[in-house]
Symmetry: C2
Subunit: 240 residues, 2 copies
């Protein structure tokens, strides 16, 4: 099912408030997307300045989370939303938690980029990492897009990418462990790359969580902790 | 401030519902505490059976999360809570997310315990890990206690433990990296221990988050992303 639209409220002001939190979530999402992109660039290009900027910018992500969270509580207290409106507020509350954690992971990559830039890490260590990074960034982008369009089918499609990210993660990890075994002096450096890859893997998980929130919002069904197969059935019950 | 109590509601049924979700959060907390204890024991004693049990039990934690989350949404929809009641529902919603993630981390330790039991990991690798594990378990226990008693001062005290856990984490990590450099054949094994220590560090973070939820619930002040010093000022404004 696609593009359920909100029914108009008696209070235009209320409509505006709901529209505002949706827009603010998307703005927060755009910021975290940019943080991932910058963190990756800082890491792969050894750009310390950009890494420091990513670390500093995390406070913007955090501030947005607190502010949108307060908006949600205000709406619950003053508007006492029901049905789809309530689901929107609940889904937004969960989504901003995931976005905030994605921001934290981008910040961690920023710190690792700083260490690695100091230690002149060979490019071979980043093989696979950049493409995995672009993969999870695309997942986040598409998850936010599904949220914006209230499109549960797209959300499902994005969530289906996560197992592939996990496979990339395992392959990169294995490669890095081989490097460490071949050259034990590289261990500390390789560990910094490992933490970065781990952070990317977590970003993929959070992007999937956002997809679950979209499915909850659109379909009114909780799909947390269910397999992709079951999720599919809940989004497209007609195909059973 | 300590032990703010709920004012009685016109509807006894509503009082009962709020009391129920509080009790269920504590039950879920007790289960995750037991999961951490079992995961640690499985790891340190090389007990594969117990490790498998921890992995299986994670579904119980997940099921509780989904069920309490639904209770919260029901209360929001039907009771339209305000003031402290609304804060309770919001704080419960956040706390169960943290508890569920703690459960995930315990499960990860369970998987690592399985690997390590197969690979006969020497006891020296676990030096520090057991005590760090007990530390974060105590943090979770005390955080849940602060939640049960609505005691923001205790919550603050628990959150103040987190930097110490982070120090333990860094020290253990350094030690493990030394082992890896001394004996590169041990790298894969040491990595499994590293993932377990990382999981413990994350559990400490989530226990701190629960403390922040308690402070929000009792004091009505959002203390996410603020320093411990600022948190202290918000909990004990009289000491400024």
């Amino acid at each position: 099912m696609t593009a359920t639209s909100f029914s108009p409220h008696i209070s235009r002001q209320f409509d505006q408030e709901l529209e505002d939190i949706r827009a603010r979530v998307l703005a927060m999402g755009g910021l975290t997307e940019a943080q991932i992109a910058d963190a990756l660039e800082a890491l792969c290009d050894g750009n310390s300045e950009l890494a420091e900027q990513v670390i500093e910018n995390d406070i913007k992500v955090n501030t947005l989370e607190v502010s949108i969270d307060e908006d949600c509580t205000q709406i619950l207290a003053r508007r006492q939303p029901a049905a789809t409106d309530l689901r929107l507020v609940v889904a937004v509350g969960k989504t901003i938690t995931d976005l905030e954690r994605i921001g934290d992971e981008a910040e961690k990559i920023g710190h690792m980029a700083l260490h690695l830039a100091e230690n002149q890490c060979p490019k071979s260590y980043y093989v696979g990492l950049e493409s995995m990074g672009n993969h999870v960034r695309a997942m986040l982008h598409d998850a936010l897009d599904a949220f914006a369009r209230m499109d549960s089918e797209s959300a499902l499609k994005v969530a289906s990418e996560d197992p592939k990210v996990d496979q990339e993660y395992v392959a990169i990890l294995r490669q890095l462990i081989t490097y460490m075994m071949e050259d034990p002096r590289s261990i500390a450096r390789a560990m910094d790359v490992i933490w970065s890859v781990r952070a990317l893997e977590r970003i993929g998980d959070h992007a999937s969580n956002i997809c679950e929130n979209v499915i909850y919002l659109v379909e009114g069904k909780n799909v947390r902790h269910v397999s992709l197969e079951e999720m599919r059935k809940k989004v497209r019950p007609e195909s059973d």
